[in-house]
Subunit: 420 residues, 2 copies
């Protein structure tokens, strides 16, 4: 048998039980972001290779599934370069395609443009448990909004969505690339070393203050600079209001509007949010992608070690396509992790319709069949779910299986007459 029953390496089939939860979660996401004025949009799965390789994808650029050129007979001899063979690839995220889309269509889009995207992305990662080469991303972005209204709306919309899905006691951690830079400047690091310093700082939750200190020293930074830097973090830990403390310290290093803008995000969200999550200033939050220019944030779930999504401001990316920068801010929800958490918690989709199964004996007359079908249509238009199926020889076992699928009512139709 030449045909393969398994999905291709690293990708998965989605079974009905999981699909029901996915459909429900997608519905909640669409409705909730919709209530904030976000509109759905979609880009093709295939993207120009030159766009995918524009340096906005970070490490993901190494993981592109490339697509063989079409439309001409491929020359497969001589010394070939990869670019002779391929010119497109499967998108590895939704951000690069979004920015291309915005660059192409901004004249036809609302300003600011509040976009919701749910779509698959593909990364040729080493296959491992719980990590797939095709997975769904859910991104919301606001393009054309320079003020912190974008951050406030993104955080409120995302947390409202998570709340509707039943998540409680999670944190949104927030920081700003400009605060990160100001802290480094205040401490005496040279600008060209910021990126390396932040990579070390990012390990704070794993290796602690002393670990960060020794890594900074082994990387060759001056002890006095490192200590001045770490003292900031130590003192913040002790401060009653971390953000207020560091804003005062950084008064000469950070423009007033950045300081007040950041505080305003904290205040506005805290005043209008429910008590099911916390918004926390986390001065050690770095986020990997180099395209972030301002605020950055991350979802931390108590049920889950890592992050369940995150995002930030990236004001310089549209300019790569158009030559003209447009303010942009986005939040990506870790859709697959959320589905995994819901599956593991035994989540049941709420408000599912009552499910009735009609069992029809083999050989019923056309008359009976007609009556059954008509009755099923009536019950369906009244809002019920009605499965019409043949009665098996082992009816008891069949009913047990149907019960396991959520069918609670049964009607049986026999050859001789309607018995029910």
């Amino acid at each position: 048998m030449a045909l393969s029953k398994k999905p291709v390496t690293g990708m998965k089939d989605i079974l009905p039980e999981e699909m029901e939860i996915r459909d429900y979660v997608m519905g909640v996401i669409k409705d909730t972001y919709g209530s904030f004025g976000f509109t759905s949009m979609e880009t093709p799965a295939v993207e120009h290779l030159e766009n995918l390789n524009c340096k906005a994808g970070g490490e993901n650029e190494k993981l592109i599934f490339k697509i063989l050129k079409r439309g001409e007979k491929l020359k497969l001899e001589g010394d070939l370069k990869e670019e002779d063979l391929v010119d497109g690839g499967l998108r590895y995220d939704l951000t690069v395609p979004l920015v291309r889309y915005y660059a192409a269509h901004s004249g036809e889009l609302p300003a600011p443009f509040k976009a919701l995207q749910m779509g698959n992305v593909w990364r040729a990662d080493r296959p491992q448990r719980g990590r797939y080469r095709q997975f769904m991303q859910c991104d919301i972005d606001i393009l054309g909004e320079a003020s912190n209204l974008a951050e406030i709306e993104l955080i409120l919309a995302t947390t409202t969505t998570l709340g509707k899905l039943g998540f409680r006691n999670f944190q949104i951690r927030i920081n700003d690339r400009q605060i990160l830079k100001a802290m480094a400047k205040y401490s005496g690091f040279a600008e060209e070393s910021y990126d390396e310093v932040f990579i070390i700082l990012d390990k704070m939750d794993k290796i602690g203050l002393s670990g960060v200190r020794s890594e900074l020293l082994s990387a060759g930074y001056e002890e006095a600079v490192a200590d001045r830097y770490l003292k900031l973090f130590e003192e913040m830990e002790e401060a009653e209001d971390k953000a207020a403390y560091v804003m005062e310290k950084l008064e000469d290093y950070l423009p007033e509007d950045v300081r007040s803008g950041f505080q305003e995000i904290l205040e506005s969200v805290n005043a209008s949010k429910g008590d099911f999550f916390e918004l926390v200033f986390d001065p050690t939050l770095v986020r990997g992608m180099s395209y972030y220019t301002g605020t950055i944030f991350e979802i931390a779930m108590p049920e889950f070690g890592g992050s369940c999504g995150g995002g930030g401001r990236y004001d310089k990316m549209v300019g790569k396509f158009t030559g003209k920068d447009v303010p942009a801010c986005g939040f990506s929800i870790g859709f697959e992790r959320i589905i995994l958490l819901l599956m593991e918690s035994g989540f049941k989709v709420p408000g599912a319709a009552e499910k009735t199964a009609y069992l029809i004996e083999k050989g019923v007359s056309a008359d009976v069949m007609t009556k059954v079908m008509r009755q099923a249509q009536e019950e369906r238009s009244a809002g019920k779910k009605v499965l019409v199926t043949r009665m098996n020889k082992n009816k008891k076992f069949q009913k047990e299986q149907l019960k396991a699928q959520g069918y609670t009512e049964f009607q049986e139709f026999y050859r001789e007459a309607l018995k029910y």
Copy 2:
């Protein structure tokens, strides 16, 4: 500027207005098929090349987007064959992946398995107006149901869905590959010529009886055979009940259960359907795919020349994967055509929530901002759509644009105080 703003050749970006309709249609499809007991499922976009090339894809097998192998350094010298470079491709339909999925998971699936799939497929067709290289397919299939219950349910579920989307006066045309064969046998065609005969018959609606006759003769068939064949179609045209007429004629060529089973489909559907569509026996309906083994059907819309979907029974395809045949029957809705028809008719998504826009003047105090956000959250939880946006200098123009996006209520928030 190296970056390309356009989508890749032949694929399209979907703008918010179209997306709103697509989301709505997908919702109606999920709900309606759900009420018939269909469950959603999904397969990866990438499929094994050997499966895609298993002869179940017909002409589509020539249109595969192939994906460059990963995980090893590609050797790009010497005489290369294509199979050295690629082992997977983007799926060109949802049927081949469904059958693989069923072969892999049948033990975990309900029996019969009523599957609903909505997903993109990719075909490297020559780009042309209204025809894209990525498009959404919507397939519903019943696997493991040998009786005509499958056909009845598929037709009722699909027409109910189309009815809910507002379509009226369309036709479902139905035929059976076994009736086609019996008609050919009755007329005296040899079995090995059936396929060619059917290809000619398929042109009936374009070239008429006389056209079909002359093509049969130029293909070298006997005049007596061709005439006996065409007389069947002529007499059916005049018969009061085409199906009854041909069933009687074919009494010796078609098993009794096929004849009564086909009639039962017509009767059951006609008795339980509304009057918004017709189910019509069309003895000239052929359908291209070679995998059909029994009933075949097609949606014909008055607004649209070609077919808006179709399907049939394909009882021999699961066996290609497992060695054991499983009865199967499916219907594929022409999702993109339906969206196109709705867009062209100026379709508006019904029951959309009331949309309010809050316009906030630049520089409002953190206090005002907080109040605005809190009020917006309250209105949203009460079911409203609330867009919070900065007030532009040209407020009048801004409001006009928002009205065009469907915002009907406005509230304005100013720097000094709340004025509304």
